[in-house]
Symmetry: C2
């Protein structure tokens, strides 16, 4: 084993990742993810199974126009059907029509499947593998052969499983990838089977693990230690059942702990960003406890840990979080003292020196708000407004006199009609009184508020509400439970998050809405001041 | 290595588990969890750190009254402070006052911490370990010594780390537990260090891993293979940063795949239930992709997998899910045909024969509803009502004529006032018109509806809304996004879940509320019919 050996990463987020319950990507999502994977130096990107559904076909058509720096797109499919010549097999034809530089096909290597699923002899299975690969190799640059259920097959009958690999090697496969399809095997089983295959064939080997026993990372690393050169998996480990191996962890360990060469250090520093990007497009809450890239991965709660880690991060951190684009976090609510607010201020990019005088007041308010269920992760804009309030008094661009929201339902099978009226006092003291409807009470309120403010602040038309999340806090109180609303807004230049908490979902949404608008106005004023200062300097 | 060797599980969900971001248990929660852990044969239950906070002290007081079948409660703390005699150390005294049969203390075994954190010499560190253990052993039955950062310490200076273990062994520790506190070590490092300690001391060894490299399960199993007899971890792997090792996976693998003896087969079949119980009390969404016990762990989506797994589950399942109390699931939305609805009907315990005639109609409706964002996992009551509707036409106990909800806010810093009026037609054709307020619009609506129905169905007073969840579906549409509301209700006898979906949160909540009430009435009628049938039989 050479320390500087290069390991190729083969990403199947766009294909196996979509087998996960609740996860689906649009064609546009897939293209955007492919570009990000290319950015961080992923070698192969499996795009889908042409011929299995229209969405995957559309992806391959669109993917031809992608300009990738080094990644190669792979099309995935199966060996030819039984009783059909490879050259006449519909699926193989579809694979070639995708016109990708790499084609990956899976075949059977477990006798159980050969007999019970395909109902053919072992000899016929060898022929299926041989024919499919030789046919594809005639028309494609690179062919990867995935041995489905390889390790179960090896456990059942090592001779047969190995012979399947030999057939694939003889037929010209460029990589033979061993799959733990059911995710049931232990590291020592992976090691033994990998050693046996390496002795039997000269072809470069790959590993494809599933996480049904929470061992996919360990199994993949074991295979690499036993000579495998390609690791297949998905970003964040999304995939059918318990998922595929999580490439984020595999990449970080291979490069930082085992000293293989996977990507450039600068690319590795984008790992957290790519992980969150995929969670976002998959419309899933990021797993905060995710190793290396999760929000909590370097978060310190206990007093002892915090004190020690601030003196020397090595005491409670296994790697420098910045190597994977993550950062150390100190959770405010369990700590006391000004230093934690200043730490938090720095985290959010606020001028620490300016905050110092107000830190104690802000701290008291943050603690009280966190007690009530506020959280400022993902709501940095609300936090910054809070700091500004501590420093300069309340930041206010308008005053609410009152609002009223009505939801009225007059037919059993029709949704209610929602209407909001609102009355505000503008910055010049004049009163605006507006009304709007919406497809729900919060939407109506949002529209009425914008209508009232547009006259004073035309730039609020630039604000788009990008995401709206509701989380019920504390169980066991039914419909009177407290809810936390998180709103994410953008104006084409920036994105910001705001938060509101109340037992009343309308009130919680209102708080987050108002913060979103206030932040937009505050941010524009800050930028204007910056421009004026710059202009002043250049004329001085 | 003997195949039938017994492995002790040491659970620290109640102590290390509470270090997780967002997770806190009440004293009552902790007592209930302890009882469940005892039920499934966990050997040790670490309850907390007496003296660190009032909640942990209250737990130990209350725990004295628990009658456990075989589990022993452990109190956790640290070695004595520097410059204080063990017999006069406040923390050690508090540990003894907890009056537990087991006391666990951690001490330093990494020179970095000895020098930089404690600021003492290596010799002084040995004395601290020795004094603390000998003092505790004089007053307690069993003392476990946790070697904090053992594997980092061993990597840095194996001699020193091993000497710490020798000191603990000589002082009379009953178990010496090696901790990968930062979660950074690889399986081969665990193996080498464990071998070295086994050669140096005769004391039984334990392993305590954190999951910062997604290797905690592999590391724990490796330690067992190298002779460790105790595994420390938490249910679901909750814990600081990325968590502790997930005991659910460790237990299942040790017993089912490595053939150690951990618990009785009947206890193992309760693993899924205990996992979900802990998620529930931690007020966390269960991780559906969790190995062995997660909702998706045996869920099949792709057509090929579903067809194969129905013929022979072994083809795509690494273990029989029932061994850990889980079950196979076929996801309905991606499949077609009556057989899937019948499968689903069976899952929900509905009479399959009775459903058959309506299956096609129900299937079409389920597909359409799932397309709109409904999901029936966790909303079995809504699904059963849907089946009944397919069979017998709509189940209706009342007719809505209309409702109106008003949220009015008149002061900037006060929550809005919510009021709901509702008009329904009862089963006898009479009209009820009621009004109620609430601390939010849904709460007001809930109260007005009950007020209107009470006259006709007094039993609805038994219904309690236990949980209310809101999830925003699909991102990118701001406050007009579709939301799904899940309500969990109970009446002392049963618990049931219902669902509603709409872009209007009031409407989605209304749907789930109505289903909850309808299900209660339907269920009571079914029970009445059952009783009458039984009475009829006994008099016949």
């Amino acid at each position: 084993m050479t320390a500087a050996r290069h390991i190729d990463i083969y990403d199947t987020t766009l294909r196996d990742g979509c087998q996960a319950e609740d996860i689906a990507f649009t064609v546009e999502d897939k293209l955007r993810i492919a570009e990000r994977l290319d950015d961080i130096g992923i070698r192969y990107i499996e795009g889908g199974w042409p011929g299995s559904n229209p969405r995957d076909e559309a992806f391959f058509t669109a993917a031809k126009r992608l300009t990738l720096k080094q990644a190669q797109i792979a099309a995935f499919g199966s060996t030819r059907r039984i009783g059909v010549r490879a050259s006449e097999d519909h699926n193989l034809k579809m694979l070639l029509q995708a016109e990708t530089p790499v084609v990956t096909i899976f075949g059977k290597t477990w006798k159980l499947h050969v007999h019970e699923d395909l109902h053919i002899s072992e000899m016929q299975n060898f022929e299926v593998i041989h024919d499919s690969i030789t046919f594809l190799k005639r028309h494609t640059d690179k062919v990867i052969f995935d041995c489905e259920h390889f390790f179960d097959g090896f456990k059942d009958d090592p001779e047969f499983a190995i012979e399947c690999c030999r057939v694939a090697a003889d037929a010209g496969a460029d990589v033979i990838c061993m799959c733990d399809t059911n995710g049931g095997r232990l590291p020592e089983e992976i090691a033994a089977a990998t050693d046996a295959v390496r002795q039997a064939v000269p072809t470069p080997l790959g590993i494809h693990c599933h996480n049904d026993s929470e061992l996919a990372v360990a199994n993949s690393l074991t295979a690499v230690q036993h000579g495998v050169v390609q690791v297949q998996g998905t970003i964040n480990g999304i995939g059918e059942r318990c998922g595929n191996v999580n490439l984020c962890s595999v990449i970080a360990i291979l490069q930082l702990k085992m000293h293989y060469k996977v990507m450039h250090a600068a690319q590795l520093r984008r790992l957290r960003e790519v992980s969150h990007f995929v969670w976002e497009l998959a419309n899933q809450e990021p797993n905060k406890r995710q190793p290396f890239v999760g929000l909590s991965a370097f978060a310190h709660k206990g007093g002892i840990h915090v004190a020690a880690v601030q003196k020397n991060p090595q005491t409670y951190e296994h790697i420098d979080p910045e190597l994977v684009g993550n950062r150390q976090r100190v959770l405010v609510s369990d700590l006391s003292g000004r230093s934690n607010i200043l730490y938090k201020a720095q985290e959010f990019g606020v001028d620490v020196e300016a905050v110092k005088p107000a830190a104690r007041k802000v701290l008291a308010e943050v603690k009280e708000l966190e007690n009530r269920g506020f959280q400022f992760e993902g709501a940095e804009a609300s936090f910054e407004l809070l700091m500004q309030k501590g420093l300069n008094g309340k930041v206010r661009s308008f005053r609410l006199i009152g609002f009223r929201v009505i939801d009225a339902k007059h037919e059993e099978d029709k949704a209610p009609y929602s209407e909001a009226t609102i009355r505000i006092e503008g910055p010049d003291g004049s009163i605006e009184h507006t009304v709007a409807d919406g497809n729900g009470p919060v939407n109506a309120l949002d529209r009425a508020l914008r209508k009232a403010l547009r006259k004073f602040y035309p730039q609020i038309d630039e604000v788009e509400l990008l995401d709206y999340k509701v989380r019920v806090l504390g169980g066991g109180e039914g419909t009177s439970a407290t809810v936390r609303v998180l709103i994410e807004s953008g104006d084409g230049q920036d994105r910001w998050g705001t938060v509101g908490v109340s037992p009343n979902v309308i009130e919680a949404s209102w708080q987050a809405l108002v913060d979103s608008i206030e932040y937009k106005l505050y941010k524009d004023r800050k930028r204007q001041r910056g421009k004026r200062a710059a202009a002043h300097e250049s004329t001085a």
